[in-house]
Symmetry: C2
Subunit: 318 residues, 2 copies
Amino acid sequence: MSRYRLAIDMGGTDIKTGVVDEQFRIIRRHVIPTGPDRPFEVVVADMAQAAKDVAAMCNLTFKDFPCVGVGVPSCINPHSGLLVFANNTNWRNAPLREELRKHIPIPVYIGNDANCAVVGEAMAGAARGKKDVLMITLGTGLGGGLLMNGKLYLGADGMGMEPGHTVLVHDGIECTCGLKGCLESYGSVIALIRQAHEAMEKHPESCLHKDMADNGGKLNGKIIFDCAIAGDKTAQQVVDQFLEYVANGIGSLVNLFRPEVILIGGGICDAGDYLMNPLNAKLPKYVFASDIIGCPPAIRATLGNAAGTIGAACLDCM
Amino acid sequence: MSRYRLAIDMGGTDIKTGVVDEQFRIIRRHVIPTGPDRPFEVVVADMAQAAKDVAAMCNLTFKDFPCVGVGVPSCINPHSGLLVFANNTNWRNAPLREELRKHIPIPVYIGNDANCAVVGEAMAGAARGKKDVLMITLGTGLGGGLLMNGKLYLGADGMGMEPGHTVLVHDGIECTCGLKGCLESYGSVIALIRQAHEAMEKHPESCLHKDMADNGGKLNGKIIFDCAIAGDKTAQQVVDQFLEYVANGIGSLVNLFRPEVILIGGGICDAGDYLMNPLNAKLPKYVFASDIIGCPPAIRATLGNAAGTIGAACLDCM
């Protein structure tokens, strides 16, 4: 048996598979389209085939690995192996592990994609050597995971945790999940874009208008941060308020979890210090008794998209 | 060595000590005033003496116990033994365990009072046999604790968790802790009384006015619930809105922790079904995908004030 690990990282767009070595590096990658509108069994067969294929590219077969780890952007029950609920595919209580095992002759571990990301960062990224880690991913949505004493926190039914769907504003903006006032509705990139659009209506002088037009009329997180960094007052106010929301949401989680460190992932991290410095400056304001008991630092995740693949490959360690 | 356990449950008003038997019953109690304005060393000497005294009442000495468990209403670091921060005494980084050990010749375990309560309920109360339990105490403040896989959740520095100081309303009402919009500022008994006073100003016809006058001009949680149960529309609206806040706060915690069960403690529980039925009816509205993944039940804690003593006595099991 080789000392390599095998991972399937399923997203709404792509199924990424990878072979990970002992140093937790992805030594071979393979990507196929997800085709999320196809029947569950067909997508699962493709996932297994893609894993088999990436192994073959390394002259390996399933039997060369101790197990396969699978990350999916869904509510997962790792105990029963059910994919309980997936927004982007509309699957409900789908027997993911059982279906995968029809094609894969070795043990299969499944996990939520946000949980895989924190596992990846813990094994090979910014959280290496840390035992109590809160990771927040600021992407299209707002996701996250928690390591407690070196182990992934899953809750009684395996469906913890959903930091994006904790409350930030009671009776606030309706979230895509149907709840109201969720952190995700204020602290995700989708929310940032909405906040920028609202500000742009009041500020026709803002550079955001021109930069959006130059981008085919579409705003994104990078444009908003770039305008702010370039000195546009409207963009700066939008980013500042956005970071207040994010800091309040994260501070609230710190009051529960008291992690050693907070990892920030997601595309927005490319803004670097322009994101992390004000976020760290704002955080203590939202942390209970931070002047006495302190506030853990927020740092950037380092693996980017690879975190999900590496984390899935290491799910059996959790 | 006896099979009894020894506990010190320190509050702002009283220091309660107790001897607990193998069935987790308090077989002897002893209560002395805390005198929180006195020097730390003097209060701690009294705590140790009160523990010695309650043991003596059972014809036992310290040497008859494996350890002493101590609950305090403070931020505690159970690893270092420091009482980091106590609101009601103004102590900061006080060496609680070290000071106790000057008087107590056996191991000393220390814990936050809300954490002791969930340990007590897990050992001998409503959470017996459960492994993943969220307890919320609706008292003067709003506190709570979490059992994860049968163990007390403490966070990296031992100072988790503070559910009362998670956010419910971004930039909302200022909390006693200095943060804004904390769940405690909307879901504690103090908050309920504030909400009732606000409603009374608009509703001179409410029975709340008379019942408050009959109580020497002071409102309390029981009066508000009693008026609501008796059919007073204003009191009913106050209670209904209060329970929306509580349900939203707890639902948000469910989205993180996914416990098997939610225990509700605190004096307000005396309202019984009038509290628990609407709370359970409202909860799913605030739980992510509750129609698909379900919502754990909220049930009443059963030990009342004894939970803190029994839990302190069992801290060594956690």
